[in-house]
Symmetry: C2
Subunit: 429 residues, 2 copies
Amino acid sequence: MSRRGLLGIAGAGLVALGASAATGYAVGRPAAEPAPASRSYPITGAHQTGISTPAQDRLHFATFDLLTEDRDDVVELLRTWTAAADRMMRGLPAGELGPSSGPYDAPPDDTGETEDLDASHLTITFGFGPSFFEGADGAARFGLDGRKPALLADLPHFPADALEDARCGGDIAVQACADDPQVAVHAIRNLARLAFGTASVRWSQLGYGRTSTTSTSQSTPRNLFGFKDGTANIKAEEPAALEDHVWVQPEDSASDPGAAWLAGGSYLVARRIRMTIETWDRSSLREQETITGRTKGSGAPLSGGDEHTEPDFTVTGRGDVPLIDPASHVALAHPSANGGARMLRRGYNYTDGSDGLGRLDAGLFFLCYVRDPATQYIPLQNTLARDDLLSEYLRHTGSGLWAVPPGLPAGSTTGGTDGAYVGQTLFEA
Amino acid sequence: MSRRGLLGIAGAGLVALGASAATGYAVGRPAAEPAPASRSYPITGAHQTGISTPAQDRLHFATFDLLTEDRDDVVELLRTWTAAADRMMRGLPAGELGPSSGPYDAPPDDTGETEDLDASHLTITFGFGPSFFEGADGAARFGLDGRKPALLADLPHFPADALEDARCGGDIAVQACADDPQVAVHAIRNLARLAFGTASVRWSQLGYGRTSTTSTSQSTPRNLFGFKDGTANIKAEEPAALEDHVWVQPEDSASDPGAAWLAGGSYLVARRIRMTIETWDRSSLREQETITGRTKGSGAPLSGGDEHTEPDFTVTGRGDVPLIDPASHVALAHPSANGGARMLRRGYNYTDGSDGLGRLDAGLFFLCYVRDPATQYIPLQNTLARDDLLSEYLRHTGSGLWAVPPGLPAGSTTGGTDGAYVGQTLFEA
């Protein structure tokens, strides 16, 4: 059922109930109630959707900077965004009236380009960056003194970083994923519309092909090096691994009291990684497989087996040379080389036109969720940037770290002045 | 059946037949033979695919500049590209060995990222720009004296054009459309790889949502203004309209002898049209519908009826004001206002991040195919740019015109030194 059909029903209801019902569609309706549209996820749950949710095929990611220093404005924005996200994730227009039912002398409360599309498994995930909590002068913003997690610090400079300021940071990150790119773009666009005057887009990124598997029900996709990517990812079917490696635990605030509000949440790292695909495409198959540590065809580790066989770094071949190069990507990124650290990756292939020098601007928009960026991401990225053979073909051009609050309590409602909202534990607990 | 499965079969064949068969897969095989993979179109036919073919959902468009002035190099490039396009449209790797079968000390002849995907209705359409025929000094290139169609002239400057040189022109345009964006990107990337040293990418553009209907079997999609777009398009089921308005006819060369080789082909106009969506989103529904001349919900003309009702520009309302504003988009773009001119539109929505000023860089990548740009596109665009109410919300930032050669003769084969190739009528007839 498309939103047009839903709108027809809602519209008829509005006529029957009179104008006073016009603001009543979402308010008072438990957010966890089965969604009216197919292919939709509820906004309620212990964690936000879009993290351990099976990775959808398309991404629109955007970061926003706040234009206000008023705490009430920010809470109001978060309430408004949460209610709109709840609606859009159900496959409904962003606002209660929709794009075409009037009033004719006001702007529509939805922009309309998804009017004939369903929810397409849309998820919208929000995170708060270091600059959300503190101004450049280190002073707390929005009365959030003492509530900035110690782990939420700007990422350090990594070897060979080539970051562009216009692709870094942002007070708030919003990750919209869907099976249909028009649905993901529509979500970001309508959140930007609702933020007018309070927050504006800092940068945004489209991704067209997921490069990670977050559920055993999914097949492993390929990145733009032509290799399978994300084989060893943490999956939704590993609840213990999610607790250990992805979700911030209540006890984590013992050592980091500012993170108490973040229990059930996570940290999101974004890295825009341009690949020098023209150079890669002229390297030999042997070099490509040596660098990766896996075969290009099946994705099996070079130590043998199939895609899902654990790599064996002890196996040697002629001249006692290890079959998997110790400087290969699979060797350096493996948990065994990183104190057992794992992460939930959720990246996308991107292609953003060309660079004026005859080369496509293409690569990986890397997204990962971790319980502790200081032990799970930063040391690993230092190792990879310094030693990984693959790094020669990579250039990190964008970056950010955000604290991702937990989900909305089961049974809660969104909208109005008393609805639940993303970030409520930060502002009210 | 994915290309991996196909590759397995091909690979087994190669082993059985010995190394001498390694170049033999596509050569000598009639291009029109039923494609082995599902969801594929043949490369042969009176016209190139990707024009009246039902519009796929995703686009990667690129233009290339030639780095050579040698005619043989260009013919060789066109042969190579045609053979690779034939293979990729069948759902096969771009080269006969594929991305992972070796030889290990050479670069793979396919980049691999579509290895587990099928053909996804891929079409690859080639066109030659004015600069393909003549250098900046007006001298003929590649011995093509007298073969440049008179109609293939740079488009004139239109009112309010805001063109960026880095998004304009190009010796050769390649339009890759598919149901899967990774398949479309893979096609352009592998053509760029094969062109190394002979041609390089000038600019490229991704599109994610078709905005046109080119077959009565398709529903009408919506553009980023939230309105249905392309309702009145020429469709594959209108063969007479295609002959009249899209395909260059043999008799057209009576007045334009340089276009004799183009019979069965067409002209492609590309315009990258940025929409000021933030401003649009703050305009009233009444204004949006007045500007468009249609309702936002159903897409019916404001003179009444449903989406497919012909607009009636004579119907007036209160105060004898026409229900459809004479300066609305539907009124000014209608064939009745343009001497009966129609075109086959094949555009896509695009979103290319943001512009650093808090606004999304989003809009319409307009593509159309016409028999005669001088009568079908240029006057219309002059009218729209000058008078259309919609123009206030549009900025044309990219542009190009290309002559699109006819298709490959039925039964012809591609590959090797005697295969058929796109543009053969230009170089050999």
